[in-house]
Symmetry: C2
Subunit: 327 residues, 2 copies
C-alpha cells in the first residue's frame, strides 16, 4: 500500500455502482469541493471499469485544481460481498465480478492509499458522520434502490460481523410465502419494496389490463420507467400507483420495526433512490407502521428519518472511510 502522506489534506470518495461511477473530492472536514461522474460500462470487464474509476477520481481532483499528491486517501464503496482487509470484491452480481483485487489495482494506478467497503456500509458511514454528526452510538442505515441494503453503526463503529456481511437487511423475510426474490427465497423485504419490486408489480398489473397514467406518460411497455415517474403519477391522482407505493412503505415500516426490536438503535435512517424520489409519499407511512409494529418501549426516543444526502451518500461515506483509515 502506498504510504499515507500525512501532510496531504484532501480525501477522495468514490461510489461504484452497476451503471455509474461517482467521485468527489472532500476537505478533511468533509466539505465536498468537486464531483465527477462517468458510466460504469461493466460489460467491458473489471480492468476497464477500474481504469474508469481511476479516471473519474482524477477528473474530480482536476475539477477543483488539486493534484493527487495532495490527497491523503481514497475510499470506495462497491456493491456486493467485500473483503475490506484485503481490499477485494469477493462477488458483485451486478458488475459480474468475482474476487477482484480492487484496492491493489487502484493503488497501482493512482499511487494513493485506497480503502474498500460495501456500498451500503459506506453510505451508512456517510449518513452517520455527516448527516447525524456522529451523535448516535447505535444507528441503522437502510437504502431502497434497485435492491435493498443496509449498514450498522454499533457502539460508534461500523459493525460488519463474523463474515463481514452484517447489514444485509434486504433479504430479511417478511412474508414467508411472499413474492419470489432474486436470492431464491420468497417474501424478502427486497422482493416487496425495492425499485425492482415496485416496477415488477406495476408492469405485471399493466400486463393484466390495469390502467395507469404511467402508460400515458411512457407508453404501454413502460420502457424507461423511473422512481420519479411514480411520484408524478401519484401527484396526478393515480390511485393504483399510490396503492403500490403505500404497500411498499408499509413493508418498509415493518422491516424497520424488526430492526428496532433486534438492535435497539437510536436512529434509523432511510435513503436510496426510491426514498429520494418518493420521500413525502412513503415516509409518513413508513414511520407510522414502524411505530405500530415496534415492541412497546423499544422505539421510545428512536428517530426514524429520511436521509437528505441523496446521491452524495456514497461519495461522502467513502470520504469518511478514507478519513477514518488515514487518521
Amino acid at each position: 500500500m502506498p504510504e499515507v502522506n500525512s501532510k496531504a489534506e484532501y480525501l477522495i470518495g468514490v461510489d461504484l455502482g452497476g451503471t455509474k461511477i461517482l467521485a468527489g473530492v472532500f476537505t478533511n472536514s468533509l466539505k465536498c469541493l468537486s464531483r465527477a461522474k462517468t458510466s460504469t460500462k461493466a460489460e467491458r470487464g473489471p480492468a476497464a471499469v477500474i481504469e474508469r474509476i481511476a479516471r473519474c477520481a482524477q477528473d474530480a481532483a482536476d475539477e477543483c485544481d488539486i493534484d493527487l499528491k495532495q490527497v491523503r486517501g481514497l475510499g470506495i464503496g462497491s456493491p456486493g460481498a467485500i473483503d475490506p482487509e484485503n481490499g477485494r470484491v469477493i462477488f458483485a452480481g451486478n458488475l459480474g465480478w468475482k474476487d477482484i483485487p480492487l484496492k491493489r489495482e487502484l493503488e497501482k494506478r493512482l499511487d494513493l492509499p485506497v480503502f474498500l467497503q460495501n456500498d451500503c456500509n459506506v453510505c451508512t458511514l456517510g449518513v452517520h458522520e455527516v448527516e447525524l454528526e456522529a451523535r448516535p452510538r447505535n444507528m441503522v442505515g437502510v437504502f431502497l434502490g434497485t435492491g435493498i441494503g443496509g449498514g450498522l453503526i454499533l457502539e460508534g463503529k461500523l459493525f460488519t460481523g463474523f463474515n463481514r456481511t452484517a447489514g444485509e437487511v434486504g433479504h430479511m423475510v417478511l412474508e414467508v410465502n411472499g413474492p419470489k426474490c432474486t436470492c431464491g427465497n420468497r417474501g424478502c423485504w427486497e422482493a416487496l419494496a425495492s425499485r425492482s419490486a415496485l416496477f415488477r408489480q406495476i408492469q405485471d398489473a399493466v400486463h393484466d389490463g390495469q390502467k395507469t397514467v404511467l402508460c400515458d406518460m411512457l407508453g404501454n411497455d413502460l420502457k424507461d420507467l423511473r422512481s420519479g415517474d411514480l411520484r408524478k403519477a401519484i401527484r396526478q391522482g393515480d390511485k393504483f400507483v399510490a396503492h403500490i407505493v403505500e404497500e411498499a412503505a408499509k413493508y418498509t415500516g415493518i422491516a424497520i420495526a424488526n430492526l428496532i426490536n433486534i438492535l435497539s438503535p437510536e436512529a434509523v435512517v432511510v435513503g436510496g433512490g426510491v426514498m429520494d424520489a418518493l420521500e413525502s409519499e412513503m415516509m409518513p407511512v413508513v414511520i407510522e407502521t414502524a411505530r405500530e409494529h415496534a415492541f412497546p418501549g423499544s422505539d421510545k426516543g428512536v428517530k426514524i428519518l429520511a436521509s437528505k444526502l441523496g446521491d452524495d451518500a456514497g461519495i461522502t461515506g467513502a470520504a469518511v472511510l478514507a478519513r477514518r483509515e488515514t487518521k
Copy 2:
C-alpha cells in the same frame, strides 16, 4: 450498593421466572455447587416475590454449606423490560410488575451486591461464557419458551442498544398477515413458534375435530399440556403434532436466517424449554431452513446449535453477570 468483598470466592445466579425461581451457587470458575428452586407466587405481589428470591438464594447457599458473606455478588435475570444501571424492572407482564427496584430490595435483604439484567440476555451470557467458552466474538442466543426472546453478544460484549431492548427477536414479523400475537401485531415469530403458539394451534385444531394421541394421553381438553408431551406424541407417530412442530421449526429457521443476514454472527445458539423438549425433532429442520434462507456467503462457517444448558442457562448466565460486574 453493598461493597464487593473481593476475598469472597463464590457467586450466586438467580433465574426469576413467571412460575418458578431458580438459584445456584457457583465457584469463580463457574462450577455449580448447589441449586435451589421455589415457586414464584407472583399473585402475592412484588414484596412477597422478592422475599422468596432472597430465601431461594439463601437455600442454595445453605445447601452447599456456604455463608452469604463468602459470596462476591448475585446476578439475577428477570423477564420484561429492565433498567440494568438502576437495577429496576421497568415492566414485566407475566409478573404483573411495573417499576420495581429489585436490585435495591434484594441488596437490603441479602447485604450483597446485586446485578440485574433481562432473562434472555442473562441466558445468552451463560451460553456464551460457559457453553462456547467465550470464543465467538459475535453470537446470537434465542430462547423458545412460553414466548420467544433473545440476546446479542457483539464484539465480545452483551449488546443492549439505545433503549436496552436489543435482542427482542420474538416480535420480528415473519408473516405480515399471520396469526395474532400478544403484542398486538400479526405474524411475529413468537406467534408462530413459541410454546403458546404451538399449544394454541393444537387446541384450536382439536376443537375443530382434529384427532391426536395427545387427547388419549391428556383428555380432550388437553389440560396440563407440556412441550414434552409433543415429543411423546411425535414418537408415537402422531403426524398432526409432527407437522405443527415442523412448521414451527421452519419459521424458527427463517427467523435465524434473518438474524444471520442482519448481524453476521459466528454462532446462533437456540435454547429454551421448547427446544430442550424437542431438540431432535426441531433442530435438523431449523438448521436446514436457516441455511436455505441465509444470503449466500453470510452463513459460511456459522454454527447453528442447540444449547445443552437447559434449565441451568439462567442461573449460569446470572453467575456470569455477577462475575463480570465484580471483577
